[in-house]
Amino acid sequence: MTAPLPTLERLPRGALTLFRIRALLRIGVYGAVAFGVALMLSFSGVEHWPFLLPCAVVLGLSVLTAWYPQRAHERWGWALREHDLVISHGVLMHQVVSIPAGRIQHVDVHQGPIERSLGLARLQIFTAAGSGADGEIPGLARETAEALREKLVRREADDVV
């Protein structure tokens, strides 16, 4: 019964940079929020400990940033087969998704400012299953994303839903 996963294509090295930049931005945002909370607590009369809160948040996230993006990058993988697209990802919650080729409704290629500067793109695959994307591959090289999109949408779709 057991069928091993196909050999997965890995994300390019640039994707790891993308994950790290995102993690750093997250440290900045959560650190700023924690600092704001600490400021409010200090104004409301709590004296010493409030400023430990942003320190703890930044420290915790920094430790996580040293480890998580690398692991996430290792876990992301995809394979385009004759009958489906397989995407594997997740550090804590490991997921392997198979999207049959005939069920794909549309494919989006998305580029944010950081992705644009790194020459990367995020591919989002939609079926009729739900309101959000059913599959997503971040950090693909722009050309790879375009080629993959072209291959996916050119396949013959099944009947409507």
Binding site: M1, T2, A3, P4, L5, D84, V86, G90, L92, M93, H94, Q95, V96, V97, S98, I99, P100, G102, R103, T127, A128, A129, G130, S131, D134, G135, D158, D159, V160, V161
Partner: protein, 517 residues
């Protein structure tokens, strides 16, 4: 037929030569829409109304009330104007709905994409002799085309025209109770006694909300009327044993209240329920105050769920939920299902299920289901103990010896976890996936493999330790999760489960497709 039928009784709006005429809703439509629109505006402004109400007691300026009420009236006026000016037409294979005041929106719905149609007749509409039509596609969380305030003839003409465009026969609209049109088969009916049983065994979130509201009113009445009487007869009330008596009476009264509310809800929703097979469609009609008719194309059925809580099993019936790709919001599965057959006797269950899924084997109770992975039991036990401790520890802290009784939850939870694990299973046949879950609330889900949109295998950190995972199967508009399986098997299932579809039939091509190369 097609668009000519729709425009036959149209209040024709001026159109260019050769263009299909637009049609308006009934002139009484704004009146029919007044109640639902008021409710909608009320819900939208709830966030502003509540603080205004509470702040008002402290003497907040009445100007806030003026602003909020003025805003509500404005929104209501806009809504009513939209209903009064909404127009629609069936142009070729497309239903086009035009609405809006400041921003004009034209919505195009391809007839071939329609998943199901629903005809509603709320109480006010019934008084005015109107109906509402909802046309659902697979695109989103709310009805894609909602025409509020059509005459039954116009609604019938629209539904007929949509079906003719799709190359299907016509289905009757809101037939009189007790009648079945020639060539139609009655598949299921629900009588009053059965509905009361259904209500008594369905205690959902909505029922609890109604009961909590009623409790609030009862408490106020108690303080006004009963408390003074009790104080004047204090010696008799405080006699030994009266505390236990009062607690028992209160518990019984509470249960009775729940039963009454739940039964009333079931009767309101399903009174006169009848499910009819029209050949290509299934049509369900029911409802006491708001009469609701749902028409589902057989070919659009995505998933069928057999819902059999323990109490209903003991009483010899269950419910069947039918899902199409139309997406509905709702807290409970029964609210999200497009078609719900409330009372199906256990004996006639296999026959009815085969009406929805012809490939289903005869004895659904005797299917050789594969059990959940043995290590899933350990996971379920850990979760049960965790939940029990989470409830019992604070209860003991706050209520002392009485709270310590909550530790009894731990063995009860452990037993429940074993039952739920033991009585779940799954099966893959050539055409179907059958999943059964739960002992106390048993739900058997049947999915056609050819309808699967995507399959995902998931493994959380705890599951990794046990080498197990779970598989989620998505179909359009819904999903089902298999019981825990080994991780290797989970990964192989994502390859195994989706099946190829039968090629399209030639007769269903649209005119626009026929003209394309």
């Amino acid at each position: 037929m097609s668009s000519e039928h729709v425009t036959a009784s149209a209040e024709a709006l001026p159109v260019a030569a050769g263009e299909v005429a637009w049609k308006r809703l009934s002139p009484k439509a704004p009146l029919a829409a007044l109640v639902p629109l008021t409710g909608m505006v009320g819900r939208m402004l709830l966030g502003a109304l509540l603080p205004t109400y509470f702040a008002g007691e402290r003497g907040l300026p009445a100007v806030l009330w003026v602003i909020v009420v003025g805003l509500a009236l404005l929104m209501l006026a806009v809504g009513l104007y939209e209903v009064a000016t909404l127009s629609y037409r069936l142009d070729g294979a497309q239903l086009e709905i035009r609405s809006g005041i400041f921003t004009r929106t034209s919505r195009f719905i391809e007839a071939a994409r329609v998943q199901n149609t629903e005809v509603l007749q709320p109480f006010v509409s019934k008084l005015l002799g109107l109906v509402e039509v909802k046309v659902e596609t697979a695109s989103g969380g709310k009805a894609d085309g909602h025409l509020r305030g059509l005459t039954p003839e116009d609604a019938q003409a629209l539904i007929d025209a949509l079906q003719v465009v799709r190359g299907e026969g016509q289905a009757g609209l809101l037939p009189a109770p007790g009648d079945a049109a020639p060539g139609e088969r009655v598949l299921s009916e629900a009588r009053l006694g059965a509905l009361l049983l259904y209500g008594a065994t369905a205690l959902g979130v909505g029922v609890l909300a109604v009961v909590m509201g009623a409790l609030h009113e009862i408490t106020e009445t108690f303080h006004k009327l009963l408390l003074p009487w009790m104080e004047s007869h204090w010696e008799a009330v405080a006699a030994p044993g009266m505390g236990w008596l009062a607690a028992t009476v209160a518990a019984l009264a509470g249960l009775f209240g729940l039963w009454v509310v739940s039964g009333a809800r079931a009767v309101l929703r399903f009174h006169g329920f009848r499910l009819v097979d029209t050949g290509t469609h299934l049509r369900a009609v029911g409802g006491l105050i708001t009469r609701r008719q749902v028409t589902v194309r057989r070919a659009r059925i995505q998933q069928v769920v057999l819902d059999e809580p323990l109490l209903r099993r003991a009483l010899g019936f269950g419910s069947v939920e039918v899902e199409t790709a139309g997406v509905r919001a709702g807290k409970e599965a029964t609210e999200r299902a497009e078609l719900l057959v409330p009372v199906v006797p256990t004996a006639s269950m296999p026959g009815l299920l085969r009406e929805f899924v012809p490939e289903l084997p005869d004895a659904i109770d005797a299917l050789p289901l594969k059990p959940a992975h043995p290590k899933a039991l350990l996971r379920a036990r850990i979760r049960a103990v965790g939940l029990g401790v989470l409830v019992a520890a604070p209860a003991t802290w706050f209520w002392g010896p009485w709270g310590a009784l909550a530790w009894g939850l731990v063995p009860a939870q452990l037993l429940a976890a074993w039952f739920d694990w033991r009585f779940q299973g799954w099966l893959i046949t050539d055409a179907l996936v059958v999943v059964r879950q739960g002992f106390w609330r048993r739900r058997t889900t049947v999915v056609q493999r050819a309808r699967i949109q995507s399959v995902r295998a998931r493994q959380g950190p705890l599951e990794r330790g046990y080498g197990i995972g779970h598989v989620r199967i998505d179909v359009a508009g819904s999903y089902v999760e298999l019981p825990s399986v080994g991780w290797d098997e989970a990964q192989s299932l994502i390859d195994l489960l989706p099946a190829r579809r039968v090629p399209k039939r030639a007769g269903l091509r649209l005119p626009s497709q026929e003209s394309s190369p």
